[in-house]
Assembly symmetry: D2
Homo-oligomer: 261 residues x 4
C-alpha cells in the first residue's frame, strides 16, 4: 500500500495570541511542524501542541526560524551567517526535543520556517549549517526538504534521513522548483485542481510542472497550510481523496520506511 505523509505548521500561537486551526489540522495531517519560540510559539504553546499531536497520533518535528517574533520569521535576513544560523538552530531544535520528550512524544523531524527556509534552500553554506545543526542535536531526525534545493543536497551530504515534500497548493516550473509567488498561478486557488495535481504527482513519483513536464522525485510528504478556512478545506479535500485512492496517510517515520513503489 502506498504511503504518504501530510505535514502542516502548527503551534504558531504566542503568549496571549492564537494563530491557526491546529485542532482541525491534527485530524487531517500525520506530521506537525512545531514553531520553536523564535518566530512564533513559546514553551507553553509548544507543550500544548505536541501533547495534542500525541493524542492525535500525529508525529512532531521542530520548525525553527529566525529570531524575529515581530516579523514572524518572514523578514529576509540576508546578513545571517552560516555560523550564526547553525547555533540558532541547535538551540531551537534542542529546546523542541526536550519539550517533546517531556510530553512523551519524541521529536521526529525538522523543517525550516519562512525566510530562514528560503535562505537555506538557495545557499549551500546556509543549508549545510542547518544540516550540521540537526546532526549535532540528533542525527536520527528526519530533515524535511524541497527536492532540488540546497537543503536537500546538504542533507544528502551529511547522510541525514531525508523526507522530500511537495506543496499541494503551489505550482512548479520545468526545473522542478516552486513557481515564485510573484508570478501568476504560483498559488493554486482551486481545491479540486490542487488535489488532482497532488494525486498525479504521487502516482507519477514526479513533480509535474505547469507545462506538464515530469521531474522524477521520491515524494514522502505533502506540505499543507492551516492558516485559513480555505486552507483547512483544501487539506480536508486532499485527505479524503487520498483515502479514496487507497494511499495511506502515515507519519514520516513510517512513510520513509516504505520502499518506493
Amino acid at each position: 500500500m502506498r504511503r504518504v505523509d501530510l505535514n502542516c505548521d502548527m503551534g504558531e500561537s504566542f503568549g496571549a495570541w492564537t494563530m491557526g486551526n491546529d485542532a482541525e489540522m491534527l485530524a487531517i495531517v500525520s506530521s506537525a511542524n512545531v514553531a520553536c519560540g523564535f518566530h512564533a510559539g513559546d514553551p507553553l504553546v509548544m507543550h500544548r501542541t505536541i501533547d495534542l499531536a500525541r493524542q492525535s497520533g500525529v508525529g512532531v518535528g521542530a520548525h525553527p526560524g529566525f529570531l524575529d517574533i515581530w516579523g514572524f520569521g518572514r523578514r529576509p535576513m540576508p546578513a545571517e551567517t552560516p555560523d550564526s544560523l547553525e547555533k540558532m538552530l541547535v538551540y531551537q531544535i534542542g529546546a523542541a526535543q526536550a519539550v517533546a520528550r517531556s510530553v512523551g512524544h519524541p521529536l521526529r523531524h525538522v523543517k525550516t520556517h519562512g525566510s530562514l527556509g528560503n535562505l537555506a534552500a538557495a545557499s549551500a553554506e546556509h543549508a549545510m549549517a542547518v544540516a550540521r545543526a540537526i546532526r549535532a542535536v540528533d542525527p536520527a531526525l528526519i530533515f524535511v526538504v524541497l527536492p532540488n534545493t540546497e537543503t536537500e543536497r546538504a542533507g544528502e551530504r551529511l547522510g541525514l534521513p531525508l523526507a522530500r515534500e511537495v506543496y499541494a497548493d503551489r505550482s512548479y516550473d520545468d526545473s522542478g522548483n516552486l513557481t515564485p509567488r510573484s508570478e501568476a498561478g504560483a498559488v493554486i486557488e482551486d481545491a479540486s485542481e490542487a488535489v488532482e495535481r497532488t494525486l498525479r504527482m504521487l502516482e507519477e513519483n514526479a513533480i509535474v510542472s505547469t507545462s506538464g513536464r515530469k521531474i522524477p522525485v521520491r515524494i514522502d510528504s505533502v506540505g499543507l497550510h492551516g492558516d485559513s478556512v480555505h486552507a483547512v478545506a483544501l487539506a480536508r479535500c486532499l485527505r479524503e481523496a487520498l483515502d479514496r485512492a487507497g494511499i495511506a496517510v502515515s507519519p514520516l517515520a513510517a512513510t520513509l520506511a516504505e520502499p518506493v513503489s
Copy 2:
C-alpha cells in the same frame, strides 16, 4: 583532600551587549551557570561561553530564568504558575543541553536565576516544578540549591543529585538562611572577611550565622559573582585562599563524588 566547587553566573551578554567578566572568572571558578536566552544570553553567547568553559576545564550548567529580557529576570512574577514554570524550564534546559552537546562539553548542572530562583526557594509547588523540569530533561543533572530551601527539599523528593551552595559575600541568619538584602550587613563588602567566613564554613561543614551559630550542612559549592571589578577581586582572593588551605577547587561532578570529610 577536601574538594569544593566554585560556581559563577556567565553568558549574560545579549546580542550587541556584553556583561560580566567571563574570561577572568573562567580562570577562577570550576562551574559556570550559563544563561539560557530568557533573561539573558542567546544561542551565540551560549555557544561561545560553553566553548570557553570547555577550554578552561570549567563545568557548565543551565541557568534558566523568567521570560523577561528587559527585566533581566529580576522582576518578581508572583503570578507564574508551577505548571507554566515547569514548561519554561524544560525548554531552557533542553536548549542549553543541545548547545553544550554541540560544543562537545556536556551540561552537568542546573541553577535557577534571579526572581525565579527566589520564587522556587520559597514555594514548595514552584520548587517541585523546577525539579520535575530538570528530571524531564535529564535526571543525571545536578541541581544546585541553597540549603534549607524548598528547592533543596524538592530535589531531595525527586532524588536529583544535589549540590548545596553557600555564598561567599552574603551573611546568614540563625536559621541558616541568607540575610535579606534589605537588612544591614546582608552583603559582606570586605573581601578578606568574606574569604575568612567562607573558609570557616568549609572547615566546620556548617553555615555560620552572623551571631556565630553553626548550622551543619554539606557544602559542595561556593557561589561567586563576576559582575564587577570588586566581585572578580573577591573571587580571586577566595581562590588563592582555598589553594593555600589545600582545598581543591573542582567541578561539581568531582566534588559530589567525594565523601564528606
Copy 3:
C-alpha cells in the same frame, strides 16, 4: 439629552497575530483605547486602528501597559517603581500621540491596561506617576479612571480632566469597588442583566452594588470588551438599549462637556 461614552480596548494585534473584533466594536463604541506596543500593538497596528477609529467617528486614547509582550501586560509586576512607571508611560503616550497626529485624529484620552492598571488603582504613588506622565505629555488628555480608586484621586490632585467609568459586565461591592474576579458573580454572564444594571447605574448616577446599595458617582463612560463573540454581543445589546432609552453615545470629550443631569 443624557450622554455617555462607551469605551473598548483595541489595537491589540501584534505583528502577524490578530486579536479582538475591532471592526465590529468600532460600530458600537465611541472611544477606543489603543494599545501602545508594550503589552500589545505595534506602530502598524496602532496606525491602522486609529485610522479606522477616525473613519468611524470614534475617539482614540492611549492604552499603555507594562513592557511585557509575552505576558500581554497581565503579569503583575509588584517591583515596578513609580519613577520607572512614569517614564514608561511618557514614552507610550507620546508614541501614541504622534501616531494619532500623523493619522489626523488627535489623541483624546489615556486608560491604563491590565496589571499596570491594577497597580495604579491600588497604590497612590503609582497612580501619581501615571497622572504625572499624562500631564507631561499633554495636560488636556482625559484620564479614564474607575471611581473610588487611587487613579481617580491622583487625577484629581493633578487637575487632569477625568472620565469615570463603570463596567457593564462586572458587579460591585458595597464600597463601590469591582467585586474581585476570584469571587462568584464578579462577572455578569447574562447580557440582559448586564444591560439592565448598566442602565440603572446611569439613571441613578450611582454605582449599584450586588446588595442593592447605591454609591453616587458621575458616570462618564462604560467599559466594554471586544475579545469574544459573547462580549461583542453584550456590547451591541447595551448600545441598542441606550439608543432606545434616548441616551446618546458620544465620545469622551463631548460627554464630559455635558453637565450632570
Copy 4:
C-alpha cells in the same frame, strides 16, 4: 566665527545592559542621537540620557532604527516597505519627543540608525518615508543626513531643515560617498590623520576624497563614535583641534543658523 556641530549616538544601553561611554562623550560633543527603544534604549535609558545631555548643554535628537533589539538594528531588512518604515519612525520619534519634553530639553533633530539608515540613504522611496515621518511629528526637527544621498534629497524635497554631516574616521571616494567598509582604508585608524582630514574638509567646505578630489558641500556636523576607548580618544583629539583652530563646537540649531563662511 566658524561653527560646527559634533554628534554622537548615545543611550544605547538596554535594560540591565550598558553600552557606550555617554558621560565622556557628553563632555565632547554638542548633539546626542538618542536610541528610541527599537534597536537599543528603553524609556528609562532615554530619560536618563536626555537629562544628562540637558545638564551638559548638549542638544538631543531621535535616533530611530529597525524593530530589532537582538540585532541592534544592524541586520539589513530589505523587505521593509516605505509605508511600514514611515509608521515605525513616527512612533519612535514621537516617543522620543515626549520623553525629551518631560525632561524639559526639547528634541531638535533626527538621525537614522544602522541598517535603516543605509536603506534610506540608498532608496528614494524609503528616504521619503523617513522625511514624511519627521514632518508628521514636527516639521521643525532637523534631519541629519549624509551629503549626496537619497536621505538628503528627500529632506530637500519636503523642505525639512537639514544638517549635513561628515564622518571623522571614514574615508570618501571621488563621488563624495563613504568608502564601503569592505574596502581597505574605509576606516581611518590613525587619530591624527582623521583629525587633519576633518579640519581640512571644514576649511575647504568640501568632502575631500582619498585621491584628493574636493566635492563642495556645506558641512554642519561631524559624526563621532563613542563605543570604544579608541573612539573616545579620537573624539577628544578632534574637539581639541577644533578649539585650537577657533572653530566653535555648537549644537545643530546654532550651527545651522550661521551663514556659510
